[in-house]
Amino acid sequence: MLPLALTVLAGPLGALALIGLVPPLRRSGRPAAFVAIAGTAVALMAAAALAAPFVTAAPPAPAAFELVWMPLGTVPAIPFGLLVDGLSASMAVLVALVALLVQVYSLAYMAGEPPSSLGRYFAYHALFAFAMLGLVLAHNLLQTYVCWELVGLGSYLLIGFWFDRPAAGRAALKAFWTTRLGDVGFALGIVVLWSAAGTFTFAELFAKASSGAIAGGALTLGMLGIYAGAMGKSAQAPLHVWLPDAMEGPTPVSALIHAATMVAAGVYLMIRVAPLLALTPAVAEAVFAIGVATALLGASMALVERDLKRILAHSTVSQLGFMMAAVGSGGAAAAYFHLLTHGFFKALLFLAAGSLIHAFHTNDIFSMGRAVRAMPVTSACFAAGALALAGILPASGFFSKDEVLAAVLAGGHPVGFAILVGTAALTAFYIGRALLIALVGAGSGASREAHDPPPAMTAPMLVLAVPALAFGIAGPTVSRLVAAPEEHAPVVVPILGTLAALGGAAAAWVAFRRGALEIRARGPLAPLIRALERRWYLDAPFEWGYRVLHAGVFRGIAWLDRYVVDGAVNALAWGTWGAAGRLRAIQNGRVQDALYAVAAGLVLLAWLAWGA
C-alpha cells in the first residue's frame, strides 16, 4: 500500500520537477502539458488502486506509514507520514480525477496562451495536484498544514495567472490574505493541540482526546484554531469574500480549485478531525451556525449576480456552508458524501460555464442566450450539473443534500434545518435563473455564432456528467468509506427537500421563462436587492480593514523598515566600509606592518601563557 500511496504523490511531483527544472520543456508549452497530464494520470491510477479495497464489503484497516522527520531531543520526534484509509483514498481519487479532467480541458481552453505561459500554467497545476494530494494523505496536522499552505500558494499563483490584469493580481492577493487570516488560527490551533497532547498525529490525537488526556480548554481552543483555518479555505462567512473574486483566474482553475477540491479542503479537514469535534460541542455549534449562515448568504448573493462564474462561486460558498452545517451537527459522512457529489457537479458546471464563456466571450449571462440549439452538448452538461446542484431526483445532489438535511435534523437543529431547506429552494431558483437566461433566453449574445467546443473540452464534461447524475447511488458506499453507521432519514426529509427544489425551480421558470427578464431594483424589495448586489456590503469591512492596516500599521512598518532595519543595515555597511578603510592599512603589502602583527601575536601568546 505504501508504494501506491507514494506513487500518488510522485506523479504530480515528478511532473512539477520536470517542468520546473527543465526550462526548454516549460517553454515548449504543450509537451509540458502532456507531462503534467501524465503525472496526474499516474496519480489517478494509483489512487484508484489505493481506494479499491476500501469500497469492498470488508475494507482493510487504515494504514499509516511514518518516518521520523524532526527529532526533538526529549519530546517525541515529529513524524512525516501517510495515512491511507477510506476517507483519504477516496478523496485522493476525487482530487486526481477532477485534476486530470480539468487539465485535459485546459489543453483546449488555454490553447490561445503563448507556449511559455502554458508551461507555467501546467507547472502550477502539477504543484497544486501534488500539494492537494499531500494534504489529503497527510497523517498528521503539521504535514497537513504544510500542504495546506502549498495549496494556498497554488491557488494564489493560478488566480493571478494572468498577472498582467490588475484585477487578477488584486484577487490573488485578496484570496491569499483572507485565507492567511484563517491560517494564523490554524497554526495557533496546531501549536495549542501539540503543547497539550505532545503529538501532531491524527490517530494519537484521537486516542488521547477520547481518553481525556487533553485538557478540555486546550482541546476547544485548538479546535477553534483549526476551524479558523477551515473557515478561510472553505470560504465560510465572513471569510468568504475572497472566493467570488478568485474567479479572475482561468475558468478550469475555478473548476478544479475554487469548486471541486481546494475549497473542499477545509471541509475535508473538519471531517478528518470529526472525532475531536465530537468532543468539543461548543466548536461544533459554531461550525454548524456559521455553516448555515454561509449557506444562506451564498445562495442569496447568487440570486442577483450577472456574472456566470460568480453565480457558481456564490453557489460554492453556499454548498460549502451545507457541508459545514452537516459536519457541525455530527454528520461527517453526509458532509463527505456532499463534498464528493459537489466536487463532481460543480466541476461540471464550471467546465460547462467555461465552454459558454469561451463561445460567447463574456461572463455576463445576459449577453449569452439560445445556447441549447447552438451548443447542445454544453447545454446538456450544464443542465445535468444544474439538476444536481438544485438537488432534484435522480441527480446525485438530491441524495447528498438529503443526507445533509437529515444529519442536521438528527443533530437536533430544527431551525437550521428549516433555513437549509429554504436555502435549497433559493439554490434551485438561482441555478434555474442562470440556466434559463444563459441557455434559453434571448440575450444580446443570442445571435452570435456559438458552437460546442472541441472534444478535449467536451470529453471531460461528459465524463463528469456521469457521476454528477449517478453518484447518488454510492451513498451507502461513502458511509462505509468513513466508517459511519448507515442512517435512514425520516421520509419527510426527501419530500421537503424535493418540494423546496421544485418550488425554487418553478419560481425561476415563472420569472425567467420568457428569456432575459431581470429582477429590477424596484418596489418594496429594492433595498434588499441592492444589498444583495453589493454582496451584503461584506466586502467593505475587509477593504476598510485592509486600508486602515495599509495606512497605519503598514506605513509604520514601512517607516520601521526604512529607518530602523535599513538604518541598521546601512550602519553596518558604513561601519564595514569605514573599518575596511582602516583595516586596509594591514593589507598594504609592507612587510614591516605585517611584522607588527607577528610581534603583537607573540605578546598575546606570552600573556596567555604566563600573564593571565
Binding site: N588, G589, R590, V591, Q592, A594, L595, Y596, A599
Partner: protein, 99 residues
C-alpha cells in the same frame, strides 16, 4: 652570572633587534637588525644548554649560525636586486608583498 640574567640580556637584544626591524626604513638596516635577533636567539639557546649541560644546544647554535649566514646571503642578494630599481631599498616603499 645566572641563566635568568643571561636570558634577560638575550631578551633585551631580541627586543632591540625587533625595534630595528619594525622601525628602520633601509633594507640593509633591517637585515642587520634581523641579525641581532638571530644572535639573541642563539645566545638564549647556548645559555639554556650551559645551564643544563646539554651539548646538543651548542650543536643547535652552530646550525643556527650557518643558517643565519645563508639567510643573510640571500637577503643581501634581494637587496641588491631591489637596489637596481631606483629608490627601492626603502622597505616602506616596497609594498608589493601580497598574500
Amino acid at each position: 652570572m645566572t641563566a635568568p640574567a643571561l636570558l634577560l640580556v638575550a631578551s633585551a637584544l631580541f627586543s632591540i633587534g625587533l625595534f630595528g626591524v619594525l622601525a628602520r626604513r633601509h633594507a640593509i638596516a633591517v637585515l642587520l637588525s634581523i641579525e641581532l635577533m638571530f644572535n639573541a636567539v642563539n645566545l638564549a639557546v647556548v645559555t639554556v644548554a650551559w645551564s643544563r649541560g646539554w651539548l646538543a644546544g651548542v650543536v643547535l647554535a652552530l646550525f643556527g649560525i650557518a643558517i643565519t649566514v645563508a639567510e643573510i646571503a640571500v637577503g643581501l642578494a634581494l637587496v641588491l636586486l631591489a637596489s637596481r630599481m631606483p629608490g627601492r631599498v626603502l622597505l616602506d616603499e616596497l609594498s608589493e608583498l601580497d598574500g
